[in-house]
Each structure stands twice: as structure tokens, then as C-alpha cells.
């Protein structure tokens, strides 16, 4: 089994799906000749030609809207937003259109699109190349939001997203692209959307998180294991709609829950996770539900001092776990 980086896994999933099904095509800014600003689509233009790896005008709303139109008549578009921050001009197409097409037509039409976008910070991207935007969409029935944490999941979840009959937002942490490597089988596996995954079994305390923070939480857990603190880690993988059962099970297992997101704290995906726990397994808890998140400021600043202040790190997670464990 090959060891691939996160972005190589993304690339492989697209390549395999395009080989499998000629209805699958990619569109976005600089995805063609340049192969994407992060090189996720490198080589695909050469392999599949310019119509299947289409460089679009600089218009996110059109990228989403054109993808929606093509999907309605049977194509399987994968739209790339260059940075998650730049999905915002396309919100109306995504929320008013893609998410509501099946429902509003009473199941007559559907809209199988995937919108991929690199999110997250810690790469000196400043305010507009560092944001987590999932919460903005995580109140939109009709959408699914997938955020993988490692190369294996990335490949399997992206394939599942491309084959899904409904619109999927697929966010990839840009710091994970080259940082995180892992074994990725070359066979055609898919990982079901909507299912969270236990990334580490433990009995003292539960961490629920997603994306790059899973990687950080695993690092923190390894260190804490040396001190006899046994951490259970649940990777949400799909942040909307949430996997309630898995959340309830993970929270109940240890009775102490730390929720971690790189997003701003108030109104994040973790608010819903906390609400689920408080609704379904409140009496299993031995401590208040703790959230570790970005501060409630607009976005991550550029200067390294302030960027570090904002970012989640293994150290911050470790500190929070120690505090909660001591409760």
C-alpha cells in the first residue's frame, strides 16, 4: 500500500473517478493548465483534456451555478473553490439552489455536485486564506458537509461524495495537504458519508473533532498516554448532518467531553455537537462540556504572533484535556 500525502489522496480519488465515469468533470479557477493553486488537479488536464478539467472565469457563483445546471442533466461536476473563503460569493447558489433542488421539485430533479475547497489556517494565509466556513453552511438541510482528517479517509470520502446523489461540500485543510501522510490503498473503496469514526479508543475522556484537529488531538493523546490519561477520539468526518449516534456513544463512554474546532467558537459545528449531547446524554456527563476553538474574532491575522494565538495546536489540546481530566 502506498504512502500518500493528503493532497495526493485527493488527487487520486478524482483521477480514479474520472476514469471510472466520463460524466465526472472538474471546473474551477486555474484547475486546468496550472493544475490548481495547490496542485490537486495536476496532470488531469493533460490526461482528460480541457473540457473535463475546465478553467473557468473568476466567478464563484457561476462555477457553482454552472455545475448545478450540468448536474441536473446528468453530469457529475466537481467544482473547486480556490480557497474556502472565496466560496462566499456562491452562497446563494449553494444554499438557495443546490441544497433545495430535490426538495422543491418534490424529488423530480436532483443535484449531484461536489464543491471542494481548501480551508483552515496556520499557513500565513491571513484573514482571507485561513477561514473555516463550514458553520455557515451547517444549518442547510439538503447539503452534506464532509471534512476528512487523513489521506485514507480523504480518498474514500471524496469518492463517496462524487457518487452521492445530492450536493456535497468537501473541505480540505490546506495545512494537512502536505503535512499529513498515510497509507492509501489503490483499490476502489468508498467511505460512507454521515458516519463518524473512532480514531483512538480510550476510557478517561472523549475528544470530538474533525479535520486537521484530529491529527493534533492524536498527537496530544499520545503524550497524555505517557501520563496515564487515556483519551478517546471521535472524528466527525461529516459535520453536517451530524452522526448523532456516534456522538452520543462517544460522549457517554467517558462522561467527559472536549470539543475541538479551529473555527470561531460561537455558533460553530461544535455548538450543535454540545447541544446533541445535552439533549440526549446529559446524565452520562461527569463534567461540563468543554469547547476549545478559535477566538471570536473575524479571522486569523497574518502576523505570526497573532496567527499562533488563534490556531489550535497539540499543546493547546493537551492543556485543555489536562484541565478537563482534573475536573
Amino acid at each position: 500500500m502506498a504512502v500518500l500525502s493528503f493532497i495526493e489522496a485527493i488527487h487520486l480519488a478524482m483521477k480514479e473517478e474520472m476514469e471510472r465515469d466520463e460524466k465526472v468533470f472538474i471546473l474551477g479557477e486555474d484547475v486546468g493548465k496550472k493544475g490548481g493553486v495547490f496542485k490537486a488537479t495536476q496532470g488531469l488536464y493533460e490526461q482528460f483534456g480541457e473540457w473535463r478539467v475546465l478553467d473557468t472565469p473568476l466567478s464563484e457563483s457561476a462555477i457553482a451555478g454552472v455545475a448545478i445546471g450540468a448536474a441536473m442533466v446528468g453530469m457529475r461536476p466537481i467544482a473547486e473553490m480556490q480557497f474556502a473563503d472565496f466560496i462566499l460569493p456562491a452562497v446563494n447558489q449553494i444554499v438557495s439552489e443546490a441544497a433545495k433542488i430535490r426538495y422543491r421539485s418534490n424529488n423530480d430533479w436532483n443535484c449531484p455536485i461536489v464543491i471542494r475547497a481548501p480551508y483552515g489556517g496556520g499557513i500565513h494565509g491571513a484573514l482571507y486564506h485561513s477561514q473555516s466556513v463550514e458553520a455557515l453552511f451547517a444549518n442547510t438541510p439538503g447539503l452534506k458537509i464532509v471534512i476528512p482528517s487523513n489521506p485514507y479517509d480523504a480518498k474514500g470520502l471524496l469518492k463517496a461524495s462524487i457518487r452521492d446523489e445530492d450536493p456535497v461540500l468537501f473541505f480540505e485543510h490546506k495545512k494537512a495537504y502536505r503535512l499529513i501522510k498515510g497509507e492509501v490503498p489503490s483499490d476502489d473503496y468508498v467511505i460512507p458519508i454521515g458516519k463518524a469514526d473512532v480514531k483512538r479508543e480510550g476510557n478517561d475522556l472523549t475528544v470530538i473533532t474533525y479535520g486537521l484537529c484530529v491529527h493534533y488531538a492524536l498527537q496530544a493523546a499520545d503524550r497524555l498516554a505517557e501520563d496515564g490519561i487515556d483519551v478517546h477520539i471521535l472524528d466527525l468526518r461529516t459535520v453536517y448532518p451530524l452522526d448523532k449516534e456516534a456522538i452520543i456513544e462517544a460522549a457517554s463512554r467517558t462522561g467527559k467531553v472536549l470539543l475541538v474546532t479551529e473555527d470561531n467558537k460561537e455558533g460553530s459545528v461544535m455548538s450543535e455537537v454540545a447541544a446533541i449531547i445535552a439533549e440526549y446524554c446529559l446524565f452520562e456527563l461527569d463534567a461540563p462540556i468543554m469547547r476549545l476553538a478559535g477566538p471570536d474574532v473575524p479571522a486569523m491575522p497574518y502576523a505570526p504572533t497573532m496567527e499562533r494565538f488563534f490556531m489550535i495546536s497539540p499543546e493547546k489540546i493537551e492543556r485543555a484535556i489536562r484541565e478537563l481530566a482534573a475536573f
Partner: protein, 331 residues
């Protein structure tokens, strides 16, 4: 009317009678909906009155068995030509379960019917423009020879989505036809407070063919549409058609229409496209007054039948609100 003659456009007497019939059917259905609204039987109407010539003239140049349409809320004339039935339209007006557009989930005017190649539409204006472009892109990628037709109001051409969609079509020379039904108002705002320039002039900036046409004359609209369809099928790219007309009713059943003078409306009613076309048909000896009256009587029966049918049809049960958020398996 100009001095266009249908035979010169390659249309038979039967064709123009069919055009007129569809226009009249749209008008009568629309009028009935207003009555039903005023009687408290349906909550909302948004009207095609004044737009029928543009709609039917344009639709006639398309092939309902092949082309896709992304109509906007006034396009009753377009969807009738594409095969939506009066009963289906009335089911939608009454929000009944059997409505093929949305099963009673959407307001009337929010068309959609996969079998008939009518894309599903929403309320936020102009979002359908990129969709139609996407349909055209899919056609081009798969070497299909269909045309994608999309309409919107002139006020709605000020949305970013109009611009982004039109430019995308222009860059890739896609077989899309955008028809703007310029009825002089966007609710209360007159066109000179909506657009800095003229609608048709926007085509240039997208590298597409642009033309302004008398939207009260179905033959004039048919003519420019036919040329646009031919260009599209030949791979010569998109067109922007501005069909100039006037809205004969208030914006919708919720609008008091106080922002326009009664004189202005009265003057425009004298140029009602239906009256003009009726006169054309008689002048051209295609039909007599009696023939058209008979046609009207038959249409009224159809409208009555559709109303009765829809009024008696059941609503979807409450819990149906939970269905079809996501795929629930193949039927």
C-alpha cells in the same frame, strides 16, 4: 405590429393559430387565477399578462422534445408550449399534491418538470442563468445538439448571476439563449432606475449576439429566436434577446400597483399583445372573429375543467414535508 408576415418566416396558418391559442390559454388561465385569488381560494398569483407574445413566440422556435428551458415566474406561455397542462398549472396554483412542479411545495410560477425538460426554478431571481449555462455546457461536452433557453426580467439582469452566467456562456461559446422580458418595471422600479444602459447592449461585453425586439409581436420574437437557435445549433454560441413589452397587471396579487399612473396603464392596455395578434390573424385572413370566439369558448371549458380538478384534488399530508431532503432510493 410591424409588417412581418408569418409565411415569410416559414410559419403556416396552423402554426400561428396554435401560437394564438397558447397565448390565449395562458391569458385565460391567468385571469382565472386572479379571480380565484380575489375569492380567497388561492393565496398568490404572479402574472403573464402582457408577456404572452414574447413567451409563445420564443418557445415556438424551440424543440420541446429536445431543448431545455429554465423559465422564470411569468412564463406560463413558455411552459404551456413545452407541454405543461392547464390542470397541472392549476394544481400548482392550488398547491395540491399532484402538482408536477413541486407537489404544492412552491408558489405558483416556480416551474419545473423533468419529463418535459423544464428545469426547477426558485424565487431568488437570475440564479437560473448559470443553470441554463451548465445545461448547455453538459450538452457541448457530450456532443448533444440541444439548446438551453433561459428567461428573466430586465430588473433581474442587474444580479451578479446574470453577469457571471452570461460571461461564462460567452467565453465557451455555449448554446444558450437568454431572453429578457423587459416589461419596464421591477415591481415599482422603472427600467431607467434599474439599468444604467440598455439590456441588449449588455451582450457586447460578453462577446455574444444581442438584439432588442418588439416583445408584443410573437412573430418578431419568433424571428430573432429562430436565428438564435440556429446560431446555437451551429456552434456559434449564445445570444441575448431583449423582448420589450409591458406588464398589464400589478406585479403580483400582493402589489397595490400605485406607482404607475392609470393613464399609462390604460394606454398600454390598448397595445395588449393578444389584441394585436388577434387583429393580425384577421387582417391576414388566417381566422375570422367567430373562429377565435369559438376557440375562446373551448379554452374557457379547459380552464373550468382545470379549476374544478385542481380545487378538488388533495393536499399533500403534513408529514410529506419531511420527504425528499436527500435521496431516498430509486423509485
Amino acid at each position: 405590429m410591424t409588417n412581418l408576415h408569418h409565411v415569410e418566416l416559414g410559419l403556416t396558418d396552423q402554426d400561428v393559430l396554435k401560437m394564438y391559442e397558447t397565448m390565449l390559454l395562458a391569458r385565460r388561465l391567468d385571469e382565472r387565477m386572479w379571480l380565484l385569488n380575489r375569492a380567497g381560494k388561492i393565496p398568490f398569483v404572479i402574472s403573464c399578462q402582457g408577456h404572452e407574445a414574447a413567451q409563445v413566440g420564443a418557445a415556438f422556435a424551440l424543440d420541446p422534445g429536445r431543448d431545455y428551458i429554465a423559465p422564470y415566474y411569468r412564463d406560463m406561455g413558455v411552459v404551456l408550449h413545452f407541454g405543461m397542462t392547464p390542470r397541472e398549472l392549476m394544481l400548482s396554483a392550488f398547491a395540491k399534491a399532484e402538482d408536477p412542479n413541486s407537489g404544492g411545495r412552491q408558489m405558483p410560477g416556480h416551474f419545473g418538470y423533468k419529463k418535459k425538460r423544464i428545469l426547477t426554478g426558485s424565487s431568488p431571481v437570475a440564479t437560473q442563468v448559470p443553470h441554463a449555462v451548465g445545461v448547455a455546457l453538459a450538452g457541448k461536452m457530450q456532443n448533444k445538439d440541444y439548446v438551453s433557453f433561459v428567461t428573466l426580467g430586465e430588473g433581474s439582469t442587474n444580479q451578479g448571476d446574470f453577469h457571471e452566467g452570461a460571461n461564462f456562456a460567452g467565453v465557451h461559446k455555449l448554446p444558450v439563449i437568454i431572453m429578457v422580458e423587459n416589461n419596464q418595471y421591477a415591481i415599482s422600479v422603472p427600467v431607467d432606475k434599474q439599468l444604467g444602459g440598455r439590456v441588449a447592449d449588455r451582450a457586447l461585453g460578453y462577446g455574444m449576439h444581442g438584439v432588442s425586439v418588439d416583445g408584443k409581436n410573437p412573430l418578431a420574437v419568433y424571428q430573432v429566436m429562430k436565428e438564435a437557435v440556429e446560431r446555437a445549433r451551429r456552434g456559434e454560441g449564445p445570444s441575448l434577446i431583449e423582448a420589450v413589452t409591458y406588464r398589464l397587471t400589478s406585479h403580483s396579487s400582493d402589489d397595490d400597483d400605485k406607482y404607475r399612473s392609470l393613464e399609462e396603464i390604460a394606454k398600454e392596455k390598448a397595445n395588449d399583445p393578444l389584441l394585436l395578434f388577434e387583429k393580425y390573424l384577421m387582417d391576414a385572413n388566417v381566422a375570422t372573429k367567430e373562429y377565435l370566439e369559438e376557440m375562446n369558448d373551448k379554452i374557457m371549458e379547459i380552464v373550468d375543467d382545470a379549476t374544478d380538478y385542481a380545487e378538488k384534488a388533495p393536499y399533500a399530508p403534513p408529514e410529506h414535508a419531511l420527504k425528499f431532503v436527500y435521496w431516498e432510493g430509486d423509485e
